[in-house]
């Protein structure tokens, strides 16, 4: 495996393009796990997945098994899912409830905050370093854990910016997500998809703010949906949700241009703001009323005026506010990535809103549906096309170069600009050179 010097890493990123190796070299991938995924705040789950003391949800951070628990002190903990004894994964995959965590190999028992509770035949440890109270005899906690509106993030690095500082401009997307609940509460519901991609994790992440691709990649699904609509419906017919959702993917370029792009420190970004492909859905009966009752009309108008399409909280978390759904990035290897799709229920809103989100995820994110597989195919072709090492070695990010508007702590650009990609790789370079992930 090649070793990369700082110079070599820096040379992979140019202002207007990046080198193919960032997508194809296993050595780069391993460095990313250490320097990006090992230092950024990584999304773990939502507190609603562990409501009661003893609830646990096991997942992974940068390929390391962890478990999120609700402890009797009411706090949420994220523990490395690894027994302090000989290292066995303590919680079998999945979620559930247990008053204590008992390892399957020798029955050592830990509290839901990781504290060692019981060792069979403890006398065997008399006088040794393995004993209650010694941190190495507990299930270790991930160095830093924090949550924002119930979204739990963890950080493998003990030092670094706190969660809210790090979220910077992306916070507003989460605020808006939660405000769309009359009770200001969201909860995970309705299961999830886990979509296996045979491509590098960054291809998915970049795609979310790629306004140039929908009218090409999704022409066969969205375009067809429009045609079916024209065939089967006439002026004034109520449009089925499904077609309302599929149609806008092939809006014209001007539409996507107008959506606009915004980026913040640590690589976060958003498409849309004032409008998005989700703006034009027909109203859900009673939804606005329930919001008005809660916030008053003026505030509600503000809330609903925010139309952020895809928010990327770099590198692991992506959000669709209007759809109240998220997609989580799980890198497996340099050319394998699992994308998880989850749906939130807006507590207090009509069930129909939640059910619309379910339908949206079926249509767009399912492995068996009409939209996702065409994105999958695009990533697949990127990964394979980039095997041509004797061809052009560079991936272009030239669109609207030098036309970014630099604000106090954000950058903005027109919808089809490559600004966000350039920004992501400046961030990437900062992380990879141990410079902290800021670039503004």
């Amino acid at each position: 495996m090649t070793h990369y010097s700082e110079e070599q890493i820096a040379a992979l990123i140019k202002e207007d393009r990046v080198h193919r190796d960032v997508y194809t070299d296993p050595a780069i991938f391993d460095l990313e796990m250490e320097r990006i995924w090992g230092r950024a705040w990584i999304y773990v789950g939502h507190e609603s997945q562990v409501r009661q003391p003893g609830d646990y949800f096991s997942t992974s951070i940068a390929r390391q098994p962890v478990v999120m628990t609700r402890h009797k002190d009411g706090e949420v903990y994220v523990l490395f899912n690894r027994c302090a004894h000989k290292g066995a994964q303590v919680v079998g995959d999945g979620c559930g409830r247990a008053q204590q965590l008992r390892c399957c190999y020798h029955g050592y028992v830990f509290d839901t905050d990781g504290t060692l509770l019981h060792i069979p035949m403890a006398e065997g440890y008399a006088g040794s370093d393995f004993k209650k109270g010694s941190p190495d005899s507990n299930m270790r906690r991930v160095p830093r854990v924090d949550s924002y509106h119930g979204l739990v993030f963890a950080n493998l690095a003990a030092e670094g910016p706190d969660l809210q500082t790090w979220l910077s401009g992306a916070k507003a997307s989460i605020d808006n997500l939660v405000e769309r609940s009359p009770e200001g509460k969201i909860e995970i519901a309705g299961g999830c998809f886990r979509y296996v991609h045979d491509s590098n994790w960054k291809m998915f992440v970049e795609n979310l703010n790629d306004a140039m691709h929908p009218m090409v990649v999704h022409q066969s699904s969205s375009g067809t949906a429009k045609r079916v609509f024209d065939d089967q419906f006439k002026e004034g017919d109520k449009v089925p949700f499904e077609l309302e959702m599929l149609a806008p993917f092939t809006n014209d370029y001007a539409f996507f241009e107008k959506m606009g792009l915004t980026a913040w420190d640590y690589g976060h970004s958003v498409t849309g703001g004032k409008m998005s492909i989700h703006s034009a859905y027909s109203p859900i009966p009673g939804y606005i009323d329930s919001l008005n009752a809660a916030y008053g009309e003026e505030k509600v108008n503000e809330i609903m005026a925010v139309n952020r399409h895809n928010t990327v909280v770099y590198p692991s978390f992506t959000l669709k506010g209007a759809i109240t759904s998220i997609r989580i990035v799980k890198p497996i290897s340099v050319n394998k990535t699992v994308i998880e799709s989850w749906v939130f229920r807006q507590v207090g809103a009509p069930e129909e809103l939640f059910q619309r989100s379910i339908t949206y995820c079926n249509l767009i994110n399912s492995q068996a549906n009409l939209v996702g597989p065409d994105d999958w195919e695009a990533y697949h072709r990127l990964q394979h096309g980039l095997q041509t090492k004797d061809s052009n070695e560079w991936v272009s990010m030239h669109r609207y170069l030098d036309q970014d508007e630099i604000g106090k702590d954000e950058k903005t650009a027109t919808g089809t600009s490559d600004m966000v990609f350039r920004h992501q790789y400046q961030t990437w370079k900062s992380y990879m050179l141990n410079q902290g992930g800021t670039s503004l």
């Binding site: 519901a189 309705g190 299961g191 999830c192 998809f193 886990r194 979509y195 296996v196 991609h197 045979d198 090409v216 990649v217 022409q219 066969s220 699904s221 375009g223 067809t224 949906a225 045609r227 079916v228 089967q232 089925p240 499904e242 077609l243 599929l246 699992v338 799709s341 749906v343 069930e351 939640f354 059910q355 379910i358 339908t359 995820c361 079926n362 249509l363 994110n365 399912s366 492995q367 068996a368 549906n369 009409l370 996702g372 597989p373 065409d374 999958w376 195919e377 695009a378 072709r381």
Partner: protein, 168 residues
Amino acid sequence: MSAVAEDQNKGTQPELKELEQFLYHEARLLDEQRWAEWNELFTKDGEYWVPASPEQADAQNHVSLIYETELLRAVRIKRFKHPNAFSLQPKPRSVHLISNVMLDDYDEHSCVLSSRFIMLQYRREELDTFGGSYTHHLQRVGGDYKIRKKRVDLINCDAPLGSILLYL
């Protein structure tokens, strides 16, 4: 051992052999990519459903790999012919094997069939194996049957999965 006993007020028991042939015919239309004909096997309100969890209760409150009524089947089938459906280029192929067909219930107008299946999907040098159970809710229409509901329970419906490009 037939799952349901002959029973006066349920009308005469349908011929299992005939029902099997119906399922084979349905599978064949899929393998031969005769989707329009396949779609016609469904009743007007016919549903095609691939849950994303075992024992999933409904398609409204939990995500599904596919949940299609007539409208969405029309979109998908139209898309199959689209010149720019890139995930279908090169064209995927399928082979459906159906076995263990059992008649779970029936009355004069309808019956419920359970079966097991394996579907092989091939595209661009990748051969994928999908397997699970079918539950067919059929309606008698004249001498023939129509599909009121086809439920496909993949054994690994909640596992990490790649693209499923064709009807299961």
